[in-house]
Amino acid sequence: MKSYLKKSLVLILFGFILHILFISYFHVGMLWVFDRETGANDSVNTVLLHTDTATSDTRGLKRPSSDVMYSICTYDVKYKPLIITTPIPDSYWSISFYSKNTDNYVTLNDLDIENKYLKVYLVGINSQPKKVSNGTVVVSPSDTGYILIRMFVGNGENLQQLKDFQESLSCIEYNDI
């Protein structure tokens, strides 16, 4: 009887550990699907994609917003920082930084940016640049991750202007290190 109880407790313990592992790494599987559908693995340290507002054909991300235009950069700052530049519109705009486990560790919006022009140095723990000028430094807690830019389309009157802002986005490696 004792042996049966002991075995049951061990099985429950292992089951609980497996459950915790599944929950802990569930996002890895979802990111794998996202990377595969967007081609993120082949487009590191560059602009991965710009989107129009989401439609019923939009896949890859669940519950997309149809009131926002997105731009996505993927990054790897293990050896070199990334420099992100773009002019920003007068309407709501934000840039959000996500570590490789999808944590949103920094968000800047249009009210945080002076002169309507964004210049961010995204650095890794071991890839700090010698000098930076006229920009904001953001430290990524992981070597890899994602950058998501959101632009509110409002009543849709300035869609073309917002697309022009999208096209001006640059995510490139910073070589002065």
Binding site: F14, G15, A54, S56, R63, Y92, T102, D103, N155
Partner: protein, 197 residues
């Protein structure tokens, strides 16, 4: 052979127990973490790096790249004020006060309808949502949105719902301010009620 079979049975039992824990954890998680406000439920800071592994898994399931406080808060409703699931074969009116004119003043907000799989509902009008700038307010400054699979002549704001199956509505509120975040349970949000089609 008998030993291998024994270990296979143990492995299957462990997987079964893990599935049971996962299945049981969903309602427990929702009861503990979700903030309820009438028909709406919300997790206050979905993208926060200090979130639990359960919140991270929840976000991965329903949105992947969520924002955190103070940038945005997301509310989700999958039932009406009678606590019945939102059903695409029925018709509803979502009505509320202008969220921006309340005591709190978010930067902007939007209401979006999703099908049971979390995707936008196919619509020839491509009107999947309304936001604080494109919604049509009535003379008192409030708004109504008709949620059904076909429009009605009475209400100008219409979002198509799936012809069959369940659906949900997500309310996004951007830069709502600290007061809004500290009153998530009490802040004045729209209601959804069934109407005759």
């Amino acid at each position: 052979m008998i030993i291998i079979r024994k270990y296979i049975i143990y492995a299957l039992l462990i997987i079964g127990i893990a599935v049971a824990f996962t299945y049981l954890s969903v309602p427990i998680y929702k009861n503990i973490v979700f903030v309820k406000n009438d028909i709406w439920s919300s997790v206050p800071s979905l993208g926060d790096p200090k979130r639990s592994i359960y919140t991270r898994a929840y976000v991965a399931t329903y949105g992947l790249f969520a924002l955190s406080k103070p940038e945005s808060v997301y509310f989700s409703a999958d039932h009406d004020i009678s606590e019945d699931s939102l059903d695409g074969s029925l018709c509803y009116i979502l009505s509320g006060n202008d969220i921006q004119s309340a005591s709190v003043s978010p930067r902007w907000w939007s209401l979006t309808v999703y099908d049971d799989d979390g995707y936008l509902v196919e619509s020839s009008e491509k009107q999947y949502s309304y936001n604080s700038e494109n919604i049509i307010y009535n003379s008192t400054g409030n708004f109504e949105v008709y949620l059904a699979d076909r429009p009605t002549g009475n209400i100008q704001n219409w979002i198509k719902t799936p012809t069959d199956g369940l659906f949900s509505v997500v309310l996004r509120v951007y830069q709502p301010g600290e007061e809004f975040f500290s009153n998530l349970k009490r802040v004045d949000l729209p209601i959804i009620e069934k109407v005759d089609c």
